[in-house]
């Protein structure tokens, strides 16, 4: 299982992995939005929390299809499914690897992008906190979506459609926390809800995901 985590991380780091893909996309959003919306800093400050969270979410969404697709195509998933480790474990490890490759770097770089988007300084800490709490949920939910679509040729599109509604609560609470933080209001409620989502999802979804993979391989 650790071997799997290490392999996935190594694959991500080697050329071909897509480590940094999420990160690059996040950066992309933060650079493109001002270019599109225009340079007024008041407007930017106002939309910064939402845009940053939407960016983080899209960055996660984009890399989801690689979670299983590559292993499926080259036959590794077949071999993993017949290997002596529980598929639930495989799925959980895959979600963890996805978070380490996408969610974590994204969280760490977010203050820099907040600068580009003129987020009020009071919001920086809350942005970090909400992303750290929320991105694991994005990875776990995303892994579930990826599991539902393993091996489907229309994977990418379907995956986005399936996962999008599941992402909505995380997005709303996450962005709300940052917005309140930036305006100096209390952020306890949205942050708590966010933590609740993450905990619940991490405890339960891997079972559903493993079942989905099993069905898809059949």
């Amino acid at each position: 299982m650790i071997a799997l985590l290490i392999r996935d991380l190594r694959l991500a780091l080697r050329a071909g992995g897509g480590f940094g893909l999420g990160l690059a996309f996040f950066l992309l959003v933060a650079v493109l939005v001002p270019l599109g919306v225009g340079p007024e800093s008041a407007t930017l400050a106002k939309i910064a929390p939402g845009i940053l969270w939407v960016g983080a979410l899209l960055a996660c969404l984009l890399s989801l299809d690689r979670i299983f697709a590559l292993d499926y195509e080259d036959g590794s998933l077949d071999l993993l499914a017949t290997a002596p480790i529980p598929l639930e474990g495989v799925v959980a490890v895959k979600a963890a690897a996805h978070w380490i490759v996408t969610g974590l770097p994204l969280t760490l770089i977010s203050p820099l992008l907040a600068l580009l988007l003129n987020l009020p300084p009071a919001g920086y800490g809350w942005l970090l906190a909400s992303l750290a709490l929320g991105t694991p949920a994005l990875s776990v939910i995303g892994t579930f979506g990826a599991a539902l679509t393993v091996g489907l040729k229309r994977g990418g599109l379907l995956l986005s459609l399936l996962v999008l509604p599941l992402y909505v609560p995380t997005l709303v609470f996450g962005a709300e926390a940052v917005r309140r933080g930036a305006e100096g209001m209390s952020v306890a409620t949205p942050l708590l809800l966010l933590a609740g989502i993450t905990a619940g999802v991490a405890a339960l979804l891997p079972f559903a995901s493993a079942a989905a993979v099993r069905i898809n391989l059949r």
Partner: protein, 209 residues
Amino acid sequence: MDLTVTDLACARGGVTVLSRVSFRLGAGRALILRGPNGIGKTTLLRTVAGLQPPVAGMVSMSPEAVAYAAHADGLKATLTVAENLSFWAAIYGTTDTAAAMARMNLAALADRQAQNLSAGQKRRLGLARLLVTGRPLWVLDEPTVSLDAASVALFGAAVRDHLAAGGAALMATHIDLGLDEAEVLDLSPFRAEAPVAQAEDDPFAGVTA
């Protein structure tokens, strides 16, 4: 530790391709499946490996005892030969990758990325994976594709050692594997007929306009 396949029927793309396949494969024995293209060899092997459920009949061995090698090798292009192999060794809880590499004549290529191997070298790596699974039943789909004569001999020796150690091997192929002691099963007689009998299992049988 015997593999007994009883009255097995298996399907691909919703079409039953083989039916009433029965055979027994004891420890220390090898069985070669033959039959024309499209008869269903791959489908049968996937069923035995537990990757798809049988339409009817049963397979005595649990998939936990099976090491499966498909048309695709399951190699990661950007990992080196040694990394690819030790990953699978770790998954199967074994450690002796050096021996497996030596057996398949891969030692000189250990630090080469899999994407820089020739077709035959890739295949050899795919076969070396079997040696680190430590599983008794090998289920192999055209294992010697792209291999030269020397590598086919290496493969033959590996299979023989596996059998001698009490393992078993079930293989599909069109070409000579250099395993004279193996039994051969021709699948042509088991091609599924237009299945009247299948109507029994069909949950929608009897529905009419």
